[in-house]
């Protein structure tokens, strides 16, 4: 039987995405990170916001979306980077890298699975806000919202993939992953508006994709104008990150073959 095919990338990516979602859902730690942490973030944010005297529905929504996105970012870091560390430990990383299928498709599928699950965090945060804090649900541009979400998912996925490539290379990339968690919350304006940050941080904010992801979503939910700009930036950065990730992979996989970094040994 010669069933080998390299012409079904979409099927492959879809299959890996689905498998990865199932695998992630068997991990207690992942479930905790993805399903519980956003609720804790949201609760803290709502309480802080209240004690500051705020009540306006739109501002509440602004806060809720930000803390939801914080959860998505944590999930992305854990699911993309951590999953590679896990596979190395489990002994499956070598099998995946050495399979006849293109590894960048496999990685893309894994990343997509993670990020899609992560976006559940936003939904959960909104529901939490409605139920516990009486947050009104309204959207300035309801028709734009799905596009904003999609752009954010795609762009975070591309970034997740780029992060994952460093985990393929370094056995101890965990430290890097942890280091990236909180700064991005700040830089991307998830915790406080970017306008509240020092001026020199802005260029950094523009380079990281969660900034535009949250801009796009907030824009559709509570913005004054449709968020075409942020959506375009999400897609543009996604392409840049994806190309960078592929470039990195070529380097990383060559180095892994030379330095034997795919196993624990």
């Amino acid at each position: 039987m010669s069933g080998l095919n390299r012409v079904r990338p979409l099927r492959l990516v879809w299959f890996v995405t689905w498998f990865n979602v199932r695998m992630l859902l068997t991990s207690e730690f992942f479930i905790l990170t993805t399903f519980i942490t956003p609720l804790i973030f949201a609760t803290l944010a709502f309480l802080l916001f209240r004690s500051g005297g705020g009540t306006a529905g739109q501002t509440l929504l602004y806060v809720a979306l930000g803390s939801g996105m914080m959860g998505v970012w944590s999930t992305t870091l854990f699911g993309c980077g951590g999953a590679i560390a896990w596979q190395r430990w489990e002994g499956t990383l070598e099998l995946l890298v050495n399979a006849p299928s293109r590894y960048d498709f496999i990685l893309a599928g894994q990343t997509l699975g993670t990020v899609v699950l992560g976006f559940y965090g936003i939904v959960a945060t909104l529901a939490w806000g409605v139920v516990l804090f009486g947050m009104p649900i309204e959207a300035s541009f309801p028709l734009m919202l799905p596009f904003s979400l999609l752009a954010a998912v795609i762009s975070l996925g591309a970034l997740g993939m780029l992060i994952a490539t460093t985990f393929v290379l370094y056995r101890h990339a965990n430290a890097l992953g942890n280091m990236l968690e909180y700064p991005i919350w700040l830089i991307a304006g998830l915790l406080v508006p970017i306008s509240a940050l020092p001026f020199w941080v802005r260029p950094l904010s523009w380079l990281v994709v969660p900034t535009w992801g949250i801009e796009a979503i907030r824009g559709a939910a509570i913005g004054a104008r449709p968020p075409f700009g942020p959506i375009a930036m999400c897609l543009l950065l996604a392409v840049v990150y994806y190309l960078l990730a592929r470039l990195m992979l070529v380097v990383v996989l060559a180095k892994a073959r030379r330095d034997a970094t795919l196993t624990l040994q």
Binding site: M1, G3, T26, G91, P100, S101, R246, L249, R258
Partner: protein
């Protein structure tokens, strides 16, 4: 992505050897120390050459650390050789990775490399996809393989509940999904109970009967002898003997083995035995209470009294003189070809 760019210009037509290695060398670089970093070169494989014909079951036999896994990893494109070349089905393992990967299956010993929290069926479906098995054939192929490795009926159970032997058989099924022509089995029977190991050997045999080329590594002489058409003994990164089990046995055929059980033997006892001019080799087997010396000579059983005399007042237990076995041939080879650890000698301080 890089791999598919290296499609061979001319597909190798019917190569004589399914697997050929030509002076393969591989060393690892490791670091020790925290403040003063020392870079160590570990020579794992030091120039090995062999050819395996299509349909052959070839055994790479050697003790732990001999370089078996490293050799396999170079052949399956996971590791780059430091120098030397190798081909699988005529394709170069360094440059034509895609073509090689499509044609090989491999199984590492031990129980890692599976997704424990889902079923065997899920594992196989996942890898079938990654190995590019045509979706139209996947179901039939998976059913065939479950049958072949004897896991049919258990495929819906989670892998975490599987025994060692079942996991190993699942690994083999995984390695065969895309119907590869060449199969690499790295210590497949490690950690299996005797029944599991026997069943596994049965499976391997049936694979060879169905026309596959198999390279199997093991550190059990009897396993290599029972299974393999040809055996290469590898020690400290070099092939030190090659041939059929009978060929290897012939190297010690005219020897006699005297087994002497001793209690509380002093460290110099073995040296005193070796001092006898007619003794060819002495190996020691440390037991819980006793130490057994295995003395090889061509003198026959009559050397026994001299050996006992050499041991002086050491307490002696059972003494047996017997014909050599394959195991003796192997032990002798390993004992006489090993070399001192090279790591410290080659350590380079790089700070």
């Amino acid at each position: 992505m890089s791999a598919s760019a290296h499609r061979p210009a001319v597909p190798a037509a019917d190569p004589v050897f399914a697997i050929e290695a030509d002076d393969l060398v591989r060393s690892y670089e490791t670091h020790t120390g925290v403040l003063r970093r020392h870079r160590l070169h570990v020579g794992a494989v030091k120039g090995i050459t062999f050819g395996i014909r299509s349909g052959e079951l070839f055994g790479l036999l050697g003790p732990n650390g001999a370089g078996k896994t490293t050799t396999i990893k170079m052949l399956i494109t996971l590791l780059l050789p430091t120098s030397g070349t190798a081909r699988v089905m005529g394709y170069d393992v360094v440059r034509e990775t895609q073509a090689v990967r499509e044609r090989i299956g491999y199984v590492f010993g031990g129980d890692r490399g599976l997704y424990d929290r889902v079923s065997a069926l899920d594992n196989l479906r996942y890898f079938a996809e990654l190995y590019g098995v045509d979706p139209a054939f996947q179901q039939r192929r998976i059913a065939e393989l479950l049958e072949l490795v004897g896991l049919n009926g258990r495929e819906r159970e989670k892998v975490e509940g599987y025994s060692r032997g079942m996991r190993q058989r699942l690994h083999i099924a995984r390695g065969l999904l895309h119907d590869p022509q060449v199969l690499f089995l790295d210590e497949p029977s490690i950690g299996l109970d005797p029944v599991g190991a026997r069943e596994l050997r049965q499976t391997v045999r049936s694979l060879v009967e169905s026309g596959k080329t198999v390279l199997l590594t093991t550190h059990y002489m009897f396993e290599a002898d029972a299974l393999c058409d040809r055996i290469a003994v590898i020690n400290a990164g070099r092939i030190v003997a090659e041939g059929t089990g009978a060929d290897l046995k012939a190297t010690v055929a005219n020897r006699t083995i005297v087994e002497i059980e001793t209690f509380g033997a002093t460290p110099d006892a073995i040296e005193r035995l070796r001092a006898d001019p007619e003794v060819i080799a002495v190996n020691s087997d440390q037991r819980e209470q006793s130490e057994i010396f295995l003395v090889q000579s061509e003198t026959g059983a009559q050397i026994t009294s001299r050996l006992l005399a050499a041991l002086g007042d050491t307490r002696i237990g059972k003494v047996i003189a017997r014909e050599p076995t394959l195991e003796d041939a192997y032990v002798d080879l390993i004992a006489t070809t090993g070399e001192p650890d090279e790591r410290s000698a080659r350590a380079a301080s790089v700070q």
